[in-house]
Subunit: 494 residues, 2 copies
Amino acid sequence: MAKDKPRRPKAETPKGFRDYFGAEVTERSAMLAKIAEVYHRYGFDALETSGVETVEALGKFLPDVDRPNEGVFAWEEDKDWLALRYDLTAPLARVYAQHRNDLPTPYRRYAMGPVWRNEKPGPGRFRQFYQCDADTVGAPSVAADAEICAMLSDVFESLGLGGDYVVKVNNRKVLNGVMEVAGVLDPSDPDKFAHERGIVLRAIDKLDRLGLDGVRQLLGEGRKDESGDFTKGAGLGAEQAEVVMGFMQARQSTGQATLQRLTELVSGSETGKAGVSELETIATLLDAQGYGPDRIEIDPAVVRGLGYYTGPVFEAELTFQIEDEKGRPRNFGSVAGGGRYDDLVKRFTGQEVPATGISIGVDRLLAALHAKGRLGQTAQGPVVVTVMDRDRMADYQTMVSELRNAGIRAEVYLGNPKNFGNQMKYADKRGSPIAIIEGGDEKERGVVQIKDLILGAKIAESATVEEWKDRPSQYEVSRGDLVAKVQEILSSQS
Amino acid sequence: MAKDKPRRPKAETPKGFRDYFGAEVTERSAMLAKIAEVYHRYGFDALETSGVETVEALGKFLPDVDRPNEGVFAWEEDKDWLALRYDLTAPLARVYAQHRNDLPTPYRRYAMGPVWRNEKPGPGRFRQFYQCDADTVGAPSVAADAEICAMLSDVFESLGLGGDYVVKVNNRKVLNGVMEVAGVLDPSDPDKFAHERGIVLRAIDKLDRLGLDGVRQLLGEGRKDESGDFTKGAGLGAEQAEVVMGFMQARQSTGQATLQRLTELVSGSETGKAGVSELETIATLLDAQGYGPDRIEIDPAVVRGLGYYTGPVFEAELTFQIEDEKGRPRNFGSVAGGGRYDDLVKRFTGQEVPATGISIGVDRLLAALHAKGRLGQTAQGPVVVTVMDRDRMADYQTMVSELRNAGIRAEVYLGNPKNFGNQMKYADKRGSPIAIIEGGDEKERGVVQIKDLILGAKIAESATVEEWKDRPSQYEVSRGDLVAKVQEILSSQS
């Protein structure tokens, strides 16, 4: 009988996880550093909690009612149930409850890092991804909300997206006022019609995807999608539905006119009036600081899907167009969202603590920066010093050492140097801008060969024979001029 | 019967985990960014794997034979066992095996991020902590090891620790040669005496703590520690033990002399000779690049505890003294270690792939930078604009907006402004350098009050009445001069 071969482990990431290489990592870091710089300038302090929390502190399930099946990764450990954090807000609640006597009030904090979701992976949908949040805890004033909006606007400016974004503001209280007018909110019994209001909220949130008719169907009896699946609606009568539809389309050409229209729509509802007044305050504050409607605007169609918002809600959209998978132009869309939520730490302490904040979709924002050509400059390979004579490794390492001391990314080829072609293939794979060659002959004559690989590739692609002659991509310089010549070529490439 | 109160969740980190606030986060980020900058300059590419791996890919237990009880956090998910990574080397092995056709060879990569250990938490010992690694995969030449040593030296220089560190190099092959001479390694049967060699290795690694006598006891019958606990030794005879002791103390005043002494000690062992020759090559390469013995030295006492090293081993020590918990001076000690290990991906592919690398102890290095006063400058609180008249929030936010546009960290007080004392207490808690005051009177006169809180605190601590009069810590300036005056005060404070 043949002896069983020992089974080798599979070299695979778990389903729904992935690896990030090179520029994917450094570009994200650079973007997060720029965002952190803005947050810091606004007086927000960094907070880093661990990836692991107790299930008890975290709350076992996500608050997003739209996706009830989203879960967490959890396991039992010494009789405690532990779990990976699914967002950065739940840990903030735990931190604030745990350290509230030592923290300043209000507490402005930012946090960035990976979160984990135990959901079905799909294309472009991973079980670990980055979040980047800023929240102000303990400030009931809408000045805190206005500040979040201004900060978000500054983040986009600092990322070079000025003119390509708009921060949209709305207020849940206005929406609740509208619900009251439409007869699906009874101020004396807030729990009544909660189910219907949830459907209304999610229907409005889907305006982009479903269009006005689709939303109207969901407000009424329900909607059959293209595949024939039926989604039950909120069951509003035609008149009720029109109130909601009117609200959704209440945006006018100026903020002042929008506020005026909203005032009419919520007429008779105290909550609605309070909401409009808060929006007015936010608009005044932002106006005074010079954030015009080209940067921050009031938009009643923004409601955010999450049930827990209680006042102002925000959403940041990128307004430039990209092509979708079928080549059709479409708006890039939402890259950040947030709002005010007032029961952050209540489950721990019993006290209501007001909070407001924003979460930036790191991956979408990175994709946006790529689409706008704001990234990619940093992704340069190293200068490669080739090895022509393996006994003279010290000579080659001295060269890279000189280059590095001049701030140039450089390395010596450390594979088997026997085949020079492999060394050039390696340089190509690394995206190297320049290769250095010093064989025995060069050594004797005190010179080095410097190959401009970028120019070489360009010439190889398109040049005529004349151009080829006129534009050499390889230079012989004396050994002492190595660093200066490399610097010259690098600056000609950029 | 009284109704049961719903039990509130405890607001606590899980046992062995902690939160990091403000400067704790930003100082670590800044340090890691500086290290990444050096790694990048050496041609290393960033790699970020997810926190979660399959248990199969990870290997269930840590390779550190010295701590067999260390475990991982693992759980079952859809019939797969998943686990949190316990270091950054195991994921590198998985990545290299998974992507080896797309990666350059040699593959230089760096990685930094949290790892998790399911071990008993203790003081200063956490179950999540940062690692910061650089490894070269697929380069058999010791030039790769020399490069790692040079890079590590450059890391310390770039962190401002020049003159305060030494990178120590040794070679496992030399040690194996010594083992051969001492009769505890039989080249024809490598498994024989493996247990004894493990004890010898760990005994040498403990020289710092146990002293020469303690090590000698562990090489022989064993050692009883202060508490009376007995650790069984390797059982070497006196003569055998002396060979090992001689090796450990083989360091001479110059690298050349040390190499000479090692050559004598391993006389007759082919492995030992190869090891000395590798050390010689490393010394030559580093010498040519100007890394003198003040930065990198050969030290036979460095063996590293891990069983899996196969060639050169490295350890970086900080040489300045700090006080221990009892106030006695002691060397700061080791902050990084690594070496060559040649079976990185063998368990996945069956092929031996040579690799060499280094891991920096992030928390210890941070502590070192603190001890040397290299940190702390960034930890400045924001300028606080106080709220004297809550109806004029727009005025105050305009002030902070102006300050921020000038690059100054600033915020408006967003708590309840009623009690001015609370606002000043808040500024104190935030470590604010300056507070701005604009009441109705100031507004009318077109001025603002600027309080230098750092100078104020200094004066309050030590000044005589005369000094108090001479050195006012509060200034009245016209509203238009706000930013300029704040800048002036901030630069006088630094």
